[in-house]
C-alpha cells in the first residue's frame, strides 16, 4: 500500500476501525491521519491492544495483597516469594495465529510470553499451557494438535526452559477456533525488576534483537476479528519464530540487566515497534521520537508503515541511561544481536516517526493509549440452569466399562503423548513435572519451590459463567494446595466470542464476577492477564473459556504431596462434602445431559478444606493427595492407582458410605474435595482433627492389592486402567488422516 494513499472509508474499514472510531481519530488529530498514522491507530485501538471491551470489567478484579509487588499493567505481574526473591508470571493467548499456522502460532506464543517475563528482569524457569481443540475426530484436529504441540516444544525446548504443566480439552465449539494459551513463570531478585516507563529527556531509545521484516503486519488486528471461510488467507499475518535468537536475547538482556545501564525496557509483541514505543511513552508520560532509518531491517525498501506494524519476533526496545550505549552494545555484540539507537525520549508527549528525512507520523501519545475507545458493551446475564438430580440420571449398567471408557476419552485420557514432546526436566529444578495436580519447581539453589498450574472448566462456564469463573480460580488454588503449596496469585486468560453480542458479553461479565469473588474469598489476587475475544467462526462462538494460571509457594519442597499411591495399607480418605452433583459432570455430559447447572463453589468450604489439607502436607504427615475435578471421585482414585510405581502397583479397595447413590457418589463433581492416602495413625489423627475443624472427612477404604475395587461395582487390574488411559492419544495421532 503506497504511503500516499488517500484515506478512504474502505481503507479505514480494512484497518478494523469503526466509522465512529475513525471520527474520533479525526477529532483527536484535528486533521486526516497519514497512512502510517492510521496503521498505528488501528493496532493501538484494536481489541487486542486496547482492551476496549474489557477494561471496564477487568478493573473490578482484586489485584492487591501483601504478596503483590506489581499487579496488572506491566508486561507481567510480580509477586514476593520471600528472601528477596520475586516471581514474575503471566499467561497469554495466541489463538488466532495458532489456528491458521499451528506450529508457528504456538511457537511464537511461547516466545512472546517468555519475552514478557524476561523483559522485567526474570529468568524464565517454567512454562505451562492451556489448550483447547475441536472434537477429536474433526478432520482438522489432529493436524492442529500435532502442530501446536510441536510448536510449543520446538520453541520452549530450544530456550532450555522446562514445560511442566498444562491442560487440554476437546469440544466442537473449538472446531473453528482453537485456544493456545501459554504461561511463563520467571524468577528475579525483588530489587532488580525492570519496568517499561520511558524517562529522562534525551535518553537513547535502543532497539535490540532480530531485524525487522514484513512478517506479522496486522497480527493484532487479525487477532481482534472473527474468522470466516477465508481464514486461511490470513496466513501471511502469522509471525515466524526463531528460538535461537530469543535464547541469545534472553541471555544478553539478563547480562545487561545485571548492570544499571537500563532505564526501562519493553518487549515488542503485538503491534511491535508501535505499541512498545507508545506504551513506554504513555507509562512515562513522555514523548518518543524514532528515526526508522536506523532500524535493523531484514528486507529492502520497507516503508514506515511496514516497520511500525511489523510483528517480527525476538525484538526489544529499551531506554538507556545517557552515555551507556557503548557498554550495552558490547553485551549485544557478544551475543551477536543487532543493537541500534533508533530514537530519543522527548518532552513532547508525542510519538514522532521519521523515515528518510520525512515525518511519517506525529501523534499525541495519550491519543493512542489513554484516549483509546472504552466500551461498556450491552450484556445479558446467562440464564440460570436447572439442577440435575441424581434420580434423573441413569446409573451405569457396567461400572467397569464406564470407567474404562471415561479414562480413555479425549478429555480424560493421559496427556503423556503431548508432554513427552516437551523438555520438562531441563534446568534440573523440576521436582514434579507433568501429570500431577500442580508442577513443583525448585527455586534454584534453595529449599523452597513454586507450585504452578493452569485450569478452567469451560462447560461449567457455558452453563453458569459466575460459578464457572469461581471454579476455574478455585481449581488452581486447590491444585496448588494439593501438592502442599500456599497459593499466592493468579493470571487470567479470558477467551471468549464476539463481545458485541450481549449474551457473549454477559458470559464475560459473569466470569469476571466469579473470578473476583474467588480471588477475594481465597486471598488470591490476579496480577496480570490477557483477553482474547472474537473467537468465532461464521458467527459461532467458542465456549466461554477463562483459563487461569496459578502460582503458589512451598517453603520446604521436601514437604510436598503427589497423587501416586505409595504404600499398601494406607488409609484412603475423602475430604470435603459429597452431595453427588451430576449437573455438568463428565458422566452426565457423556450421556447427553448438558443443560443443567454446574456444581456450585462454596468458597468458604474451599478455603477451610484446603487450608486443613495443606497443614498436613506442610507438617510432613501426608504425602499423597489428589484434588477431585473432572470425572469425580472414581476417576481421581483411578488416577492415584495408575500413578503408583509401575514396578510395584498399588491398587485400592473402597466401599461406599451408607445411603449414597453410587453413580452420583462416584461421578459427581462437587467442589472443594480431595482424596488423601495416609498410614493408619495419621489417618486417625486427620479424621479427628477434621471433625474438630468442621472439615467433612470420611474413610473410604485402603490402598493395596493389584486392583481397583469399589464396593461390588468396580474390579479392574492396574494395567487395564493404564492401558485405557494411555492408549487414547497415541491411537488418535497414529490414525490416518480422514
Amino acid at each position: 500500500m503506497p504511503e500516499t494513499s488517500a484515506i478512504t472509508p474502505q481503507i479505514v474499514a480494512e484497518h478494523g476501525l469503526s466509522p465512529d472510531e475513525y471520527a474520533k481519530v479525526l477529532q483527536l488529530l484535528n486533521r486526516e491521519p497519514t497512512l502510517t498514522e492510521l496503521g498505528i491507530f488501528s493496532v493501538m485501538w484494536s481489541e487486542h491492544c486496547s482492551y476496549k471491551s474489557t477494561r471496564f470489567w477487568l478493573k473490578q478484579l482484586p489485584t492487591t495483597g501483601p504478596q503483590v509487588i506489581h499487579g496488572p499493567g506491566e508486561n507481567a505481574g510480580v509477586i514476593d516469594i520471600g528472601d528477596g526473591d520475586a516471581c514474575i508470571f503471566k499467561m497469554e493467548s495466541h489463538n488466532h495465529p495458532s489456528f491458521i499456522e499451528p506450529y508457528q502460532g504456538a511457537a511464537t506464543g511461547v516466545g512472546g510470553i517468555m519475552r514478557d517475563v524476561f523483559t522485567m528482569g526474570a529468568r524464565p524457569i517454567a512454562m505451562l499451557n492451556a489448550l483447547r481443540f475441536g472434537e477429536a475426530d474433526h478432520p482438522k484436529t489432529k493436524h492442529l494438535v500435532a502442530g501446536v504441540v510441536a510448536g510449543i516444544g520446538g520453541y520452549g525446548n530450544c530456550m532450555g526452559v522446562p514445560t511442566v504443566a498444562g491442560e487440554v480439552n476437546f469440544d466442537a465449539s473449538y472446531n473453528g477456533n482453537i485456544l493456545v494459551n501459554a504461561m511463563c513463570v520467571g524468577l528475579a531478585r525483588a530489587d532488580n525488576i525492570f519496568l517499561s516507563a520511558a524517562s529522562g529527556i534525551g535518553n537513547p531509545v535502543v532497539y535490540v534483537g532480530s531485524k525487522t521484516g514484513r512478517d506479522g503486519i496486522h497480527g493484532a488486528t487479525m487477532a481482534s476479528a472473527e474468522f470466516d471461510d477465508d481464514s486461511e488467507e490470513k496466513r501471511p499475518t502469522v509471525q515466524v519464530g526463531d528460538p535461537f535468537t530469543e535464547k541469545l536475547l534472553l541471555e544478553a538482556c539478563l547480562e545487561l540487566m545485571s548492570s544499571d545501564a537500563i532505564v526501562s525496557i519493553q518487549d515488542m509483541g503485538a503491534a511491535g515497534l508501535t505499541s512498545s514505543s507508545a506504551e513506554m511513552g504513555s507509562k512515562g508520560d513522555a514523548g518518543i521520537e524514532l528515526d526508522l532509518d536506523h532500524v535493523p531491517q531484514r528486507e529492502e525498501n520497507m516503508t514506515a508503515y511496514e516497520m511500525m506494524l511489523s510483528e517480527s519476533q525476538e525484538r526489544m526496545l529499551m531506554i538507556l541511561k545517557p552515555g551507556r550505549e557503548a557498554e550495552a552494545k558490547a553485551v549485544f555484540d557478544k551475543w551477536e544481536l543487532d543493537f541500534a539507537v533508533i530514537g530519543r525520549v522527548t518532552d513532547t508527549k508525542r510519538l514522532v516517526v521519521k523515515h528518510k528525512g520525512q515525518v511519517m507520523a506525529d501523534l499525541p501519545i495519550t491519543a493512542l493509549a489513554d484516549e483509546a475507545p472504552l466500551y461498556q458493551r450491552p450484556w445479558t446475564a446467562t440464564p440460570k440452569k436447572p439442577v440435575l438430580s441424581a434420580a434423573e440420571v441413569p446409573a451405569p449398567e457396567d461400572y467397569n466399562a464406564t470407567l474404562i471408557a471415561m479414562l480413555g476419552s479425549p478429555d480424560m485420557a493421559s496427556r503423556r503423548w503431548i508432554w513427552q514432546q516437551y523438555d520438562s526436566t531441563v534446568m534440573n529444578d523440576t521436582a514434579q513435572g507433568p501429570g500431577g495436580d500442580a508442577a513443583v519447581i525448585r527455586v534454584h539453589g534453595k529449599q523452597k519451590a513454586l507450585a504452578v498450574t493452569t485450569d478452567g472448566t469451560p462447560r461449567y462456564c457455558l452453563a453458569d459463567p459466575v460459578e464457572g469463573g469461581k471454579q476455574a480460580v478455585a481449581e488452581t488454588w486447590r491444585n496448588i494446595t494439593a501438592v502442599g503449596g500456599t497459593p499466592l496469585a493468579y493470571t487470567d486468560n479470558m477467551n471468549f466470542g464476539n463481545p458485541q453480542k450481549p449474551e457473549i458479553m454477559g458470559q464475560f461479565v459473569g466470569a469476571i464476577e466469579g473470578l473476583k469473588e474467588a480471588g477475594i474469598a481465597l486471598g488470591y489476587p490476579v496480577i496480570g492477564g490477557n483477553c482474547s475475544l472474537y473467537n468465532e467462526t461464521n458467527g459461532q462462538g467458542i465456549m466461554p473459556t477463562p483459563a487461569i494460571g496459578g502460582v503458589g509457594i512451598l517453603k520446604d519442597m521436601e514437604k510436598r504431596a503427589t497423587i501416586a499411591l505409595k504404600r499398601w495399607g494406607d488409609q484412603i480418605l475423602l475430604i470435603g462434602d459429597t452431595k453427588g452433583w451430576l449437573g455438568q459432570s463428565i458422566y452426565a455430559r457423556d450421556l447427553g445431559l448438558t443443560s443443567h447447572a454446574p456444581p456450585p463453589v462454596d468458597l468458604a468450604a474451599e478455603k477451610r478444606n484446603g487450608d486443613f489439607i495443606r497443614g498436613f502436607i506442610e507438617s510432613g504427615q501426608v504425602d499423597t493427595v489428589h484434588d477431585l475435578s473432572d470425572g469425580g471421585l472414581l476417576v481421581a482414585l483411578a488416577e492415584m492407582v495408575m500413578a503408583s510405581n509401575q514396578a510395584d502397583d498399588v491398587g485400592a479397595q473402597i466401599d461406599l458410605p451408607d445411603g449414597a447413590a453410587a453413580h452420583a457418589f462416584l461421578f459427581g463433581e462437587d467442589q472443594a474435595r480431595y482424596l488423601v492416602a495416609a498410614p493408619q495413625p495419621v489417618a486417625e489423627r486427620l479424621l479427628a482433627e477434621a471433625r474438630a475443624a468442621g472439615v467433612p472427612a470420611i474413610r473410604l477404604g485402603v490402598a493395596g492389592g493389584r486392583h481397583l475395587r469399589v464396593a461390588d461395582l468396580v474390579w479392574l487390574d492396574v494395567p487395564s486402567l493404564r492401558e485405557a488411559h494411555e492408549g487414547f492419544f497415541p491411537a488418535l495421532m497414529a490414525a490416518p488422516l480422514n
Binding site: N157, C158, G160, P243, T245, Q421, T425, V426, M427, D429
Partner: protein, 221 residues
C-alpha cells in the same frame, strides 16, 4: 578435578552440567566461552553440554564444531584430556570428528523427554568406573535428533573394541544397535545422548547420574 563446561550460543544444559559437577564433586566448575581459543592448562575435564548450539541450524552440532574453542578442545582431547559430550555435546563431538558416526531425527519424528533405562556396557572407563558392567541405570533422554547412526565398519569396530559405553534398554529414538553412548579409541572422549546430569539430586527421578560424575572424579583426581 578442575572441570570446565563450554558455553555455545543456545547451549541450555551448561548450568545443569556445572551444578551437577559441583554437587557431586564439590569443586567449582569453570565456564568457557565458544569464542575463546584458549583453555586454561589446569583444566582436566572438558564437558560439552546439551542444548541447541547455533539453533541446530545446518545440522545439530555442525556449527559449534567449527567454533574457535573446538579447535582447542580437539587438541586437548588428542593430548589425553578427558572430554564428555552430553546430548548436543555428543552431536558436536561427532561433527568435529572426535567420535565416529552421526545423528538422524528420532525414529518417531518427535522430540522425546523421559527417564530411560540404559545398560552400562563397561566399567573399565574413566566415565563408568563407579558402575557395574551390565548394570541397568536410568538417565533421561531429551532430544529430537538423538538417532545415532554409523556405517557397518564403524559399528564393528565400536562393538569389537568395547567402545559402546551405554546402550538403551527401551530405545527411544531409533539409535542403531541401541547405542546411547560411545568412546573414542583412547577412551578419554565420551559422547552420551541421555543426560546423567539430570539424575543427580534427591528431587530428581533417581540419582543414577551421580556415579557418572563420581567416576570422573575418581579417575581424574
Amino acid at each position: 578435578m578442575k572441570a570446565a563446561v563450554v558455553v555455545f550460543p543456545a547451549s541450555n544444559c551448561d548450568r545443569d552440567a556445572a551444578t551437577a559437577l559441583e554437587y557431586v564433586t564439590g569443586n567449582r566448575t569453570r565456564m568457557l566461552w565458544h569464542k575463546d581459543s584458549e583453555i586454561p592448562a589446569d583444566i582436566d575435564l572438558i564437558v560439552l553440554p546439551g542444548g541447541f548450539s547455533y539453533g541446530d541450524y545446518l545440522r545439530c552440532g555442525a556449527m559449534a564444531a567449527q567454533s574457535p574453542i573446538m579447535r582447542t578442545v580437539v587438541e586437548r582431547a588428542r593430548a589425553g584430556t578427558p572430554v564428555a559430550g552430553i546430548c548436543n555435546g555428543f552431536q558436536i563431538l561427532a561433527e568435529c570428528g572426535l567420535l565416529p558416526g552421526g545423528f538422524l531425527r528420532n525414529a518417531g519424528l518427535k522430540f522425546v523427554n523421559k527417564p530411560t533405562p540404559v545398560r552400562v556396557e563397561t566399567s573399565q572407563t574413566i566415565f563408568t568406573n563407579k558402575f557395574e558392567a551390565g548394570e541397568v541405570v536410568s538417565f533421561p533422554v531429551a532430544n529430537g535428533e538423538g538417532n545415532y547412526f554409523a556405517d557397518d565398519e564403524t559399528l564393528k569396530r565400536l562393538e569389537g573394541e568395547g567402545r559402546i559405553a551405554f546402550r538403551y534398554q527401551d530405545n527411544p529414538n531409533g539409535s542403531i544397535n541401541d547405542i546411547a553412548g560411545i568412546l573414542n579409541e583412547a577412551g578419554n572422549v565420551l559422547g552420551v545422548m541421555p543426560h546423567p546430569e539430570r539424575h543427580v539430586e534427591p528431587i530428581h527421578f533417581c540419582q543414577d547420574g551421580r556415579r557418572f560424575f563420581e567416576s570422573l572424579a575418581a579417575a581424574v583426581g
